[in-house]
């Protein structure tokens, strides 16, 4: 907590209602929310998607997305009413006094301009600094944010630097005019845990150095615990609970807040690994066509039958590529995939129908995995008709059965289109499609990463139940270690195309650790507001020790 509690509010939002136009009618999506922010304070806004977090964050700049409007309430920033200002006056404030950091830096930067040009745009336009002066400032900020080669990195284009670096460059850009308030909208959601730490510590450092107030929007409790002084929990456009971070973590009051907390605790007792393997991957080396660098280097592992094998690693570690090799969608240069003691052909086109049926995949983005023009009964009914020749009334009956199995009411959902389902429901339909094929092995590629925690928990429980009922084997690809703990019996850790660690789940989460596994494990944010500080301190100490040893 900072000692500015008595100071005047920097931002105060009173009874803010925001409505959106849905099919020609204006409906409230935020129902009268109050937000107070003192100078230098960091407020965490958390909630699931659809809670109105981003909408409120934008409203704090006096902005609403097209199709939305701020219908009621007062938004006061430094004594000025933002909701009564003209667009021109608002523009003068935005960028100079209030800044915004978006979730996807890659999508928010203009790909055609160099980073430093985009940095200098705002201060020059607001007549705060000259071009030369702001370039120098940019380099200083890049250095402070620990970007590599601060003098030259600004002269690169957005696609030439990594996602974590981009997100830091964007934070630097938000600081360009030394604003009083920055709104961070899920700045680390799209990043790996190891990169997330760099961005989090950069943001934390900047905010405390310049004593900038911030609204930090996220759905990840452990992240918000590191960043915020105070946490406000939102659900469907209403405030559920507001408390200081420490109090919120130790003693949540509202039932909804408690359920959010409970999700993180999900785990299961891993089974003893069976020595009957459904799939064996042997010494796979693979490259993408037209590229000489191997994406997979000598990858070998076994997937026990009726159990779950998790593959974890950062993005680019080759997890999904492994899945594509098993599916036969990518042909490996070397090595083989053995399914039920039989070597599979490298190309899926040359595999038999039964072999294809036995390995099914569930994709990360259910939006693109389901054909938007096919109704649910066709999506689920097709594998039945294609593999088993089940047609007509029998097909109808089986589809309804499968829908019931995945907890979707067949009377309601049977003939809907994917666009009429929520994210979690779409993922359930994907699962039903894999079940319809009666596959032995289901490859789940980041199936819960695009979902809210509560919804993701439902999907994991469903997968677990189906495994027990049908003795399914899963190859579960994920970057989230909490998910691994919740579902896996065996874990394979991948790093830069190699398997670096492989162990039963319980053993993996216990010392002695493999060095990379340890880094991965320690990077997962904990529900402790001092976790980030302690971790950075510990890592710095380790570096020092190493340096001392060298001397």
């Amino acid at each position: 907590m900072k000692d500015s509690v008595t100071a005047e509010n920097l931002l105060s939002m009173r009874g803010v209602k925001i409505s959106a136009e849905i099919d020609g009618n204006w409906q409230d999506i935020v129902h009268g929310v109050d937000i107070d922010l003192k100078p230098g304070e960091v407020l965490g806004l958390i909630g699931e998607s659809g809670a109105g977090k981003s909408t409120l964050g934008l409203a704090a700049m006096g902005y609403s997305r097209s199709g939305c409007k701020i219908s009621e309430g007062a938004i006061t920033f430094k004594g000025q009413r933002l909701d009564q200002m003209s667009e021109k006056q608002l523009q003068r404030l935005r960028g100079s006094k209030i800044a915004y950091v978006a979730q996807s830096a890659a999508a928010s930067f203009n790909p055609a301009h160099k980073l430093i040009d985009q940095y200098c745009e705002t201060p020059v336009q607001h007549n705060i600094a000259s071009r030369e002066h702001s370039e120098l400032e940019a380099i200083a900020l890049y250095r402070q944010l620990q970007l590599p080669n601060p003098e030259s990195i600004g002269f690169r284009y957005p696609h030439q630097i990594s996602g974590g670096q981009l997100q830091r460059a964007m934070t630097a850009m938000a600081m360009a005019c030394k604003p009083d308030l920055i709104i961070f909208d899920e700045p680390t959601t799209a990043l790996d845990v190891t990169t997330q730490i760099e961005v989090l510590s950069a943001i934390k450092e900047i905010v405390s150095t310049y004593n900038t107030a911030a609204i930090y929007i996220t759905h990840d409790l452990a992240v918000v615990a590191q960043m915020a002084d105070r946490i406000q929990v939102l659900k469907q456009g209403n405030t559920m609970e507001i408390a200081s971070t420490e109090k919120m973590l130790s003693d949540p009051q509202h039932d909804y807040t408690k359920t959010l907390w409970a999700v993180r605790e999900m785990s299961r007792t891993a089974k003893v690994l069976s020595d009957d393997y459904v799939v064996e991957v042997k010494n796979i080396t693979a490259t993408y066509p037209g590229n000489d660098l191997p994406v997979l280097k000598d990858v070998s592992f076994k997937v026990p039958r009726g159990q779950t094998t998790a593959v974890v690693g950062e993005s680019g570690s080759g997890k999904s590529t492994t899945a594509r090799v098993i599916m036969g969608l990518l042909q490996a240069q070397q090595g083989s995939v053995i399914f039920n003691q039989k070597t599979l052909h490298k190309n899926y086109r040359k595999r038999s129908k039964t072999e294809l049926r036995n390995i099914q995949m569930i994709y990360q983005m259910a939006d693109t995995a389901l054909n938007p023009k096919q109704p649910i009964y066709e999506i689920i009914g097709r594998p039945l008709a294609f593999y088993q020749g089940i047609k007509g009334e029998e097909n109808k009956r089986r589809v309804r059965e499968l829908l019931t199995l995945i907890d979707l009411d067949p009377d309601i959902y049977y003939s809907r289109l994917p666009g009429e389902l929520s994210g979690g429901q779409k993922q359930r339909v994907s699962i039903a499609r894999a079940l319809a094929a009666e596959a032995e092995l289901i490859i789940c590629d980041e199936v819960t990463s695009a979902l809210d925690q509560v919804v993701a928990e439902g999907i994991l429980k469903l997968l677990d139940r189906l495994q027990q009922e049908y003795n399914l084997s899963y190859l579960f690809i994920t970057h989230d270690l909490a998910t691994v703990r919740a579902i896996a019996d065996q874990v394979i850790v991948m790093y830069q195309g190699k398997v670096v660690d492989q162990a039963p789940t319980e053993a993996l989460f216990k010392p002695p650790y493999h060095p990379y596994t340890e880094k991965l494990l320690s990077s997962v944010p904990q529900m402790d507001s001092h976790w980030l500080d302690n971790l950075l301190l510990a890592r710095a100490n380790k570096e020092n020790e190493k340096a001392n040893e060298h001397n």
């Binding site: 599916m327 969608l329 899926y348 693109t368 054909n371 499609r433």
Partner: protein
């Protein structure tokens, strides 16, 4: 019924377009009933003025202008429609195949199409029509082939964005054949731009045929068609008579009407609200 309720919410321009197209269709279907005289009958002296026995006067050979205008709708619109359909089925299908198969199939088809496209369409059409002769069938096929190159390009490029979707990969991994993937996975997702293009292409084909007819290589006399009607009666313009402009206006009106409807269809498929 569904179409009618949709039409009620449509903008005025689209309603107007649908009305005009419907009127044209009625004229095309009921031409023999509606026309007061035969298509090829020489009835009276040439270039008779409006009114009296012949509502729009007579043409350069003394045929009834109104009757020829009505039959002309049948010839011009009918041939243009058949041509566009052939161009779309051929070009569209090849475009989808090229996008789905990729690799050498795509290369072969795309480069072949590039060669055809490199030659200006009107000159190419004139050339081939002079060689193979100007029967209606050859006219249809020559224009269809030339037009299918544009359809191929569009179908290929919109299909390429769909082919990379996970659901297409899932269908391939399931073991589905090419025909299923074209028909069930890709086509429904590219139909909106293709339908919009169909409207536009139809207009172009229509204008192309009229242009060819005007040059004397299109629909051959004595069949009535709007393009050659403009040419045959063009001299009247010098005398301040607007009669030759009526078939030209018929072409223009249909083009505008179709574009209104296409705009509406595009707008609906893009999902924009305003």
């Amino acid at each position: 019924m569904k179409f009618l309720s949709l039409l009620k919410q449509a903008p005025l321009s689209a309603q107007f377009g649908v009305l005009v197209i419907t009127l044209y269709l009625i004229v095309v279907i009921f031409a023999p009933v509606l026309a007061p005289y035969g298509e090829r009958e020489v009835l009276d002296s040439e270039y008779l003025p409006w009114g009296g026995e012949y509502l729009l006067g007579t043409d350069n050979l003394g045929r009834d202008m109104l009757s020829r205008l009505i039959y002309g709708a049948r010839n011009t619109v009918g041939i243009a429609l058949v041509t566009t359909i052939i161009a779309f089925v051929g070009g569209g299908l090849l475009g989808l195949v090229a996008a789905i198969m990729g690799g050498w199939v795509d290369q072969l088809l795309s480069r072949a199409i590039d060669v055809v496209m490199a030659i200006p369409a009107l000159i190419f059409a004139l050339l081939i029509l002079t060689i193979v002769g100007t029967s209606t069938t050859s006219l249809i096929f020559v224009i269809a082939v030339l037009d299918s190159t544009r359809v191929f390009r569009l179908a290929r490029s919109v299909a390429q964005t769909v082919v990379v979707m996970d659901y297409v990969e899932a269908a391939k991994a399931r073991g589905e054949g090419l025909w299923w993937i074209i028909r069930k996975e890709v086509l429904p997702n590219v139909s909106a731009p293709l339908i919009a293009e169909f409207g536009l292409r139809f207009c172009f084909v229509f204008l192309f045929i009229s242009a060819l007819s005007f040059l004397g290589l299109g629909i051959q006399p004595p069949s009535a068609d709007w393009g050659s009607m403009v040419r045959d009666n063009a001299t009247l313009i010098t005398f301040g008579d607007v009669t030759p402009l009526i078939p030209a206006a018929a072409i223009a009106l249909l083009t505008v009407a179709i574009n209104f409807v296409v705009d509406w269809a595009l707008h609906r498929s893009s999902g924009l609200k305003d």
